[in-house]
Amino acid sequence: MNDHERDDDANRLTRRHYVAGAGAAVAVGLAGCSDDPEGDIGATETEGDSGGGSGGDTEDGSGGDAEEGDLEIVHWWTAGGEQDAYQALLDGFREEYPDVEIVDNPAPGGAGSAIDAVIQNRVLDGDPPSTFQIWPGQALTPYTDEDLLEDIGDSVWTDEMEEAYLGDIVDLARPAGNLVAVPINIHRLNNLFYNVEVVESANVDPTDINDPQQLADALQTVADETDATPLAHQTQSPWSSLQLWESIFIGMQGVDAYRTFIDGDVSSLETEVRNALELLNTYSEFFPEDAGSISWDQGNSALIEGDAAFIHQGDWAAGQYRAADGFEFGEGWDMVAFPGTTSVYQSVIDSFVFPTNNPSPEATEKFLSYAGSVDAQARFNPVKGSIPPRTDVPTDDFGPFLSRQIEDFNNSNTQPPSIAHGTSVAPSVHSSLEEAFANFNGNGDVDEAYQAIANSF
């Protein structure tokens, strides 16, 4: 029995060691959960553990029901109007290509906050979907750097199609020289929406505001003359401030300086960058008191209610006006180009791409060709509230506001890509700039913000 006792002791030790180990493992697992965004904005499945360890152990990030040859589309259009627009697009595609089976795979989350992680994982795993929604331009560079997108210059981009797009937009579809993306819609960023009644009661004429500095004066007038918030805005997340800064910068310095900036030459523009930051600080005095606790659409609602005079926002904001009862374009609300940017059409664009290792090359080609067609863009954009990148789409269905936007677009001198919306800078720069503006929203420190901006490139 002595042997047996000894065995027992040994076992107990081993067992205790094992349990101790398992306990630690559980702890690690718990801690590991901390980087798992499961249950957040979207029900996305991302490789949770190591932040970087996303090499090859997830078989399929999502949408395991796609079969070989089916067209799997990953996108983030899940909110009301967006989803309707996307359905209109799919309806048109089905009419044209009834034999293609579509696997719809939404990755919800505003402006692609969840889709990136999903797509990146799947691409790294060599298991991309047939196509996915992505900002064109610099946002594509992580993919083009590794040759993860097919050149569709010959297959999809016919000469006819290329001619129908404006030059700046086509350039965004070829960040590395060859065409890899099909832009499907364009939102304008440099809009200044306003509540007609509030602005009139303050005796401010928006069409008379000629540069960003004058806008500050106008905001002051609104503050003096009315109870309304002069400039609706949100600072909870940084992108709104970043896009406002973009427009201020272009409005003050012009598009050439802006292009120098997005090429990374910040130091030569130090004064200009600082001036735009200073002005943003000035504007911030006119933000709503609760800017840090609201989302952009809550701010926009205040404008509809007559509690705010102006908002700088992409023209997706107009969708909310359209949905509001008795708030008509021209009477209830109106819009001017952001002061100093009248001939500029700052573009926020969505596109579809053709990933390599494609599970359904034929269907993907059909879809991308369709997305570049007049029919697709005529169906999609009026519902989405954006304008078609093709200049030859009939404007009949677009309503007065979008028709005017299309006119402005066709008359614009330049269509610079947006920083806040990923088209003009690489994702890592974009993220660093967002971080810089998140801090700037908090402390308004121009020196620190300038340094952070300069260091971002």
Binding site: T14, A27, G32, P37, D40, T46, S50, G53, N441, G442
Partner: protein, 345 residues
């Protein structure tokens, strides 16, 4: 894994044969012996003694129970942790495949000079400590109040515990509204009692942002502490309160000197859970601010996600993850060690 389990149960009969003793099931032995185990024992031959000892060993017998989970945990937890460490050393960016050729500590050197990391690290530490201590204190207070037999005890217990059942997402949205400087309850209440001076934009003012978050998290978790403490309090016989009172202790002293010192185990287990949740505060911040909460509220888990998935700097993100892991370990480690020493593992 399952094969091991089934294989073991198939071997059961000849186990019984060579085991001989069958202390636990003397009745079953006969049946098993007539089950045809004789051939097995014949072939066992000279190895019998080693085999017998192996089979008798509790260690071997228990393998089917702890073996499969150990392997799974080994691969998916420790394997992933190790791999994360490797990735942090190889300088992997972008969407290319990782190359395990050059190993360097560059990512960690970058951490040391990155102001984002510095602020995220300190914020994480502050969050961890302040949140844990506050939640424990509030939880203890609530537990004592409830234990002292207030009316509607069950109702209050449920009310306090309810926030715990909410997800971070709900809590975050709820508190975004509470903290709204214009219409939120906090500022409205402050104005209501004439404390206008204290009103602020809780979620934008960098000076209070982190503490506003800590307060919201505390709201969510103090109920949990309360339940843990309440269980601890209920385990203390009433006699001890009476004995202390007769010995001349005031109510405050009864709790400070007699009751609270006995709640060590409750405190320990609640604190570990709280700290782990503090490290998980990612969800809460992500819902409120996305991946860029700003330096005043940035924490390591958010930074890790931002660096890895927003910037595709996998190695740098992995380095942040390693630091976070080390922090988690430094929380859990002492706890496990203490448990181990008390013989509870």
């Amino acid at each position: 894994m399952l094969g091991g389990l089934f294989g073991r149960s198939e071997r059961d009969p000849d186990d019984a044969e060579s085991d001989g003793e069958q202390r636990s099931r003397p009745g079953g032995e006969q049946r098993l012996r007539t089950d045809g185990g004789a051939t097995a024992s014949a072939s066992a031959g000279t190895d019998a003694s080693i085999l017998t000892r192996l089979r008798r060993s509790e260690f071997v017998e228990s393998i089917p129970f702890w073996g499969p989970p150990a392997v799974l945990v080994g691969i998916f937890v420790y394997g992933a942790v190790a791999w994360n460490l490797v990735i942090s050393l190889i300088g992997w960016d972008g969407l290319g495949q990782p190359e395990y050729t050059d190993f360097s500590l560059a990512a960690y050197e970058q951490l040391l000079v990155d102001p984002s990391f510095t602020s995220a690290f300190w914020n994480t530490l502050i969050l961890l400590l302040v949140f844990t201590v506050l939640s424990l204190a509030v939880g203890l207070l609530l537990a004592i109040l409830i234990d002292r037999g207030i009316r509607f005890e069950n109702t209050f217990r449920t009310i306090y515990l309810l926030p715990m059942s909410l997800s971070f997402v709900v809590t975050a949205i709820f508190w975004a509204w509470m903290y709204n400087p214009r219409i939120g309850l906090i500022n409205t209440a402050l104005r209501g009692v004439g404390l206008d001076v204290l009103t602020t934009a809780w979620l934008s003012n960098p000076d209070v942002k982190l503490f506003a978050i800590i307060f919201a998290l505390m709201w969510q978790f103090s109920g949990y502490c309360m339940v843990v403490y309440l269980a601890g309090l209920r385990a203390i016989p009433r006699d001890q309160y009476e004995a202390a009172r007769i010995d001349g202790a005031s109510t405050l002293r009864v709790y400070l000197r007699v009751i609270i010192p006995q709640l060590g185990a409750s405190t320990m287990s609640a604190a570990v859970v709280l700290m782990v949740f503090a490290l998980k505060a990612f969800d809460f911040l992500f819902v409120l601010f996305g991946v860029n909460p700003g330096q005043s509220a940035d924490i390591l888990s958010v930074m890790m996600y931002r660096v890895a998935f927003d910037r595709l700097q996998w190695s740098y993100g992995a380095a942040v993850a390693t630091v976070l892991f080390a922090m988690a370990l430094s929380v859990i480690g002492p706890y496990l060690y203490a448990q181990y020493r008390r013989g509870e593992l």
